[in-house]
Symmetry: C2
Amino acid sequence: MALIVQKYGGSSVANAKKILRVAQRVIKTKRAGHKVVVVVSAMGDMTDDLIALAGQINKNPEEREMDMLLSTGEQVSIALLAMAVHKLGHQAVSFTGPQVGIITDEFHSKARIQNVSAERIKKALGDGKIVIVAGFQGQTPSGEITTLGRGGSDLTAVALAVALKAKHCEIYTDVDGIYTADPRVIPEARKMSVATYDEILELASLGAKVMHSRSIEVGKKFNMPIRVRNSHKDVQGTLITKENKKMEEVVVSGVALAEDEAKITLFRVSDRPGVAAKVFQTLADANVNVDMIIQNKTQTNSTDISFTVLKHELTKALKTVKAAMKKVGATSITCDENIAKVSVVGIGMRSHSGIASKMFSTLAKHKINIDMISTSEIKISVVVAGDKGRLAARAIHRAFGLDKK
Amino acid sequence: MALIVQKYGGSSVANAKKILRVAQRVIKTKRAGHKVVVVVSAMGDMTDDLIALAGQINKNPEEREMDMLLSTGEQVSIALLAMAVHKLGHQAVSFTGPQVGIITDEFHSKARIQNVSAERIKKALGDGKIVIVAGFQGQTPSGEITTLGRGGSDLTAVALAVALKAKHCEIYTDVDGIYTADPRVIPEARKMSVATYDEILELASLGAKVMHSRSIEVGKKFNMPIRVRNSHKDVQGTLITKENKKMEEVVVSGVALAEDEAKITLFRVSDRPGVAAKVFQTLADANVNVDMIIQNKTQTNSTDISFTVLKHELTKALKTVKAAMKKVGATSITCDENIAKVSVVGIGMRSHSGIASKMFSTLAKHKINIDMISTSEIKISVVVAGDKGRLAARAIHRAFGLDKK
């Protein structure tokens, strides 16, 4: 008998019928002899509806009150799922985040979990009950209701799995698992049966939109296996776990395409220590996220610096950098919104050589010019022309054999 | 500067526009120099919608889970009202019932308040904030969410007013105040400017549908003045308070009509001590509420007993009583659904005579036969034929001059 934490997203509990289906799935796990803790999100569009309602009253609502409002969404789901389990003849009990001791810091709308006591869950499991917990929410030590921000329900599930020493944490979604690439971009993308935390972290941050990185980070930190599965089908999903020998044999595990970035280049920045830092500190102060940074010294006493930012932050980024140009001695600035970033990720890269040259020669064969290159231990990213992104991603995906079993 | 508790019902906060209007009203009170605590119900039909949603999943949901579900309704309202107050440029903070220490017993769906600490409210008021509290809800000492049942939000408001030593508690509704009779039945009914707790308690229990008796009882116990006012108009409502000399001059303050009762008669019940008790204990065990009870000894060794129950409990009542007939020696049983109960209420009755005779002669003048009579210190009730109820109520209302200022 194992303890398993399962998480169901908003689309899995969007109406009464779907809630009853989730209840059946939960009961099946219980019947297989396991202790089950279920984390649920708000029903379908409920969160969006509540946000729209708030917008009718106040365009800039206080985050504390938004948390008060939005946390009701998950509370509705847990009560209904408990009723569904009862209806099917099994014992269940629902708890809010605050009730099970999910303690967070005080940053409303994006709180971080500080501690999970889970005493009430343990007691209810001991009584033979299926325990249903509201995702996405917690409370501060002084009793203020908080929400955890994007990917919050996944985070609740993984954090509870860690606190309860679960065998693993199952994340149920609309897809069969995590793919070697986005199937909407690369139809021949295949489901990965296994991946490491680091690979998924790189894929998530590269725009593969799988799971939010915060929950993967917690999984990695506490070595909690995470299974991503389809809530509508009974198929094996993707297991996210720590690396093992066998996994290193797979050189590249996925390809990611990001089309939401823009490139900024500052020309002839003074080549003195601390100058680059000044540019990026200014951007950080303006709350602009910078992704790739390339610096290449081509002249004496000065250098060009290029970096990418999210397109929707481009205007803010340009304004910020222009204001700082004089301080860093730059002579001019350009930007390019027509770019795409293609990345290959794989822990096998560390022990295999030739990945970069294979990637670059594939691009050359397709006459795709490389604009920027950036590498980390387990990934290589290139920036190419925006209209070449999809072609590049697909060619690279094929070149590394990701379309074959 | 006084502390005032205001309560707004579901129809007063049914949409964004109405919530902003309530916010204006609350701010007006704050601007007049008062400390304001606001209690709100769930928006319009939200509670009914949630009940319907639960019904799609489980026809007999556990009461604990219904409380978990329904308590979200008020939580949505408090967050939105706080946002509305912020929007209008004032400080406000919302709290759930559990957050402000409303501690109840463990009877889900009809919990009774055991204690109110209200420390967080006092602190927030001290910080100059308008405090907004979710009505209808609390938590048990062990942290289970409970709801207070019918009239629960009124009860929250009065209990908070008592705990905070408020100057008075204002209950905002859709009507101008409490009337001498139901205006839908007696169009010439007038608004009372003042009434005693006892009068309103009698009127409420007699079917005048004004405020739930639980909150009036708490108001009476702690001598907390309650003002019933119209949330849409700026008119004086009805003040419910303890009695004073002047009030005794008004002999009859209201007339109530109840058309939802049925009469049961048991014939030739053994006339021994404890027999009547047996009948009503059986009904109590079956959870049937009995209203009027009349016993009249007309034979030797036996007596007839008549009593009234709510029509929708008649079937259950008949079944229960029939099963107990032998035990009490009764020979037969009849029932009558075509009855109406008309009552006059007024604390002045205690010091004035002739009320009963005036009531009975008024009925005689209109050729209305009296079937049952029951009296208490401040009320007289009669049962008449069902189709004569409205005529009787109206005639009595006029006879006591309630239609005139």
